[in-house]
Assembly symmetry: C2
């Protein structure tokens, strides 16, 4: 059985005392450095692999402090607090002794309660009815099958943007892979910069922080398997060098797996 | 000149090496322990007061790891990374040596760029046309003037909730106080639990994590002064012990000051 490219990329090697060694993977390369979603998944994985972990991820925030250089990094995961059914983590990724990413994670043992998904998935065609995007300028994009319904990447950079930055798309790993917390974390960063839709202009930019709330527990992820996810995302504010977006990821049955928010910097 | 109650409560005393001592303030007491918005503002303040800080807050995530006991706490702020125009912080609050809150913060020196607020404020009556809420069961609520337009706290806990959890309200400090990053952070936690609207049932609950993206820079906060803020918030997913919401805060001129999201736990 061949290791899936995502599993090969997200893998970390324990080097003792809650520390792990990882490396960037050319299969998830971005314009410069790695796809942030893979870096996020690797940071999350440092806690997932930690022997002291209790429960599954519920809330994860990762801050991209510096561009990762291609190559190795160290991941340090530390338990800040363990409660009866929840645990709080602080995670840092370092290269050459300098911090390149920070993260905090809440894990929890979840129990069945009243549940309701207030944010309903939009009415969209099935994934089989939507064309796969062929715009794959960077390597990591080839690791996903993306089928845009609304809000495609601009075809011309003529500086005439749309009035809103809504994107809806079907997505899954390519080749398909059963979703887990690490891959759901990575897929939460799949949305291209909202400013591209608003301005149709290319300006230097990058994600500085991303938060993922895992509404799905392990049972719901198992039920989702390697099926399609429906992603929706929209920008909120763009001001003086930073803009944010908020998004949702559902499975094909319409169950909410994750909500996510991020802030990007931009240059002009 | 009398010190505003918010300033008295958020104050920290330096005890050396990036550490500060603070205390809970009875004026911001919640049902149990302090108002989380005040704890968040105090955690933020540890970085704001730090001599090594560069730039103003842009993105802040605080994780409530344990209920704070009434009394003193220590706040530790550490620079994880300093770049040319951004800085990344890790903050911890401790009581009796145990971590009660963790936080990460991005500060930045901001420059004027293309700007646009995609999320427009809803059309609502002016604050002077909206009745002030008189429902003030806990102390911290008296520190704010809140004028609900949509989505009030249920009057009867009869277990018949609304179909959605949208709330819109005007708010400001009581007495009025010029908004700053710390008070905007606190006000981001002013929204009552969305599950109260959906279920009209009281269940044990608490915020476990909150993120604030500061779209406002210092100039926009100065222009806002002690004016009214318009807050809007809505839940997304409620599932197996946790639910989230996302919200926005505008000033009375309709400029977006902050976007915020949080995750709460609930019991049943």
């Amino acid at each position: 059985m061949t290791l899936h490219v995502f599993d090969a990329a997200v893998a970390l090697e324990p080097i003792g005392d809650g520390e792990f060694r990882g490396r960037t993977n050319p299969a998830y390369a971005n314009f410069i450095g790695p796809f942030g979603g893979m870096t996020a998944a690797q940071a999350l994985n440092a806690a997932l692999l930690h022997p002291d972990r209790l429960g599954d991820p519920v809330a994860f925030t990762v801050n991209f402090a510096a561009a990762l250089a291609d190559g190795e990094f160290e991941a340090q995961a530390r338990v800040a607090r363990t409660n009866r059914s929840t645990q709080h983590w602080i995670i840092e990724l370092k290269q050459a002794g300098a911090t390149v990413a920070t993260a905090t994670l809440l894990t929890a043992a979840r129990r069945e309660t009243w549940s309701s998904h207030e944010v309903a998935p939009p009415a969209v065609p099935r994934p089989q009815e939507v064309a796969r995007t062929t715009r794959r300028a960077v390597e990591w994009v080839k690791r996903y099958d993306m089928r845009f319904i609304e809000g495609r990447i601009p075809h011309e950079w003529q500086g005439q943007g749309d009035e809103d930055s809504l994107t809806q798309l079907w997505l899954r790993d390519e080749p398909p892979r059963p979703v887990d917390f690490a891959s759901l974390c990575a897929m939460s960063d799949i949305f291209f910069p909202r400013i591209w839709l608003r301005r149709a202009t290319q300006t230097p930019l990058g994600t500085v922080t991303m938060t993922v709330y895992f509404h799905a527990d392990a049972d719901l992820l198992r039920a989702t398997g390697d099926g399609w996810l429906l992603g929706q995302v929209r920008g909120q504010g763009f001001r003086n060098g930073f803009f944010d977006h908020f998004g949702q990821l559902w499975n094909e049955s319409g169950e909410l797996l994750a909500t996510t928010h991020q802030l990007m910097y931009f240059k002009e």
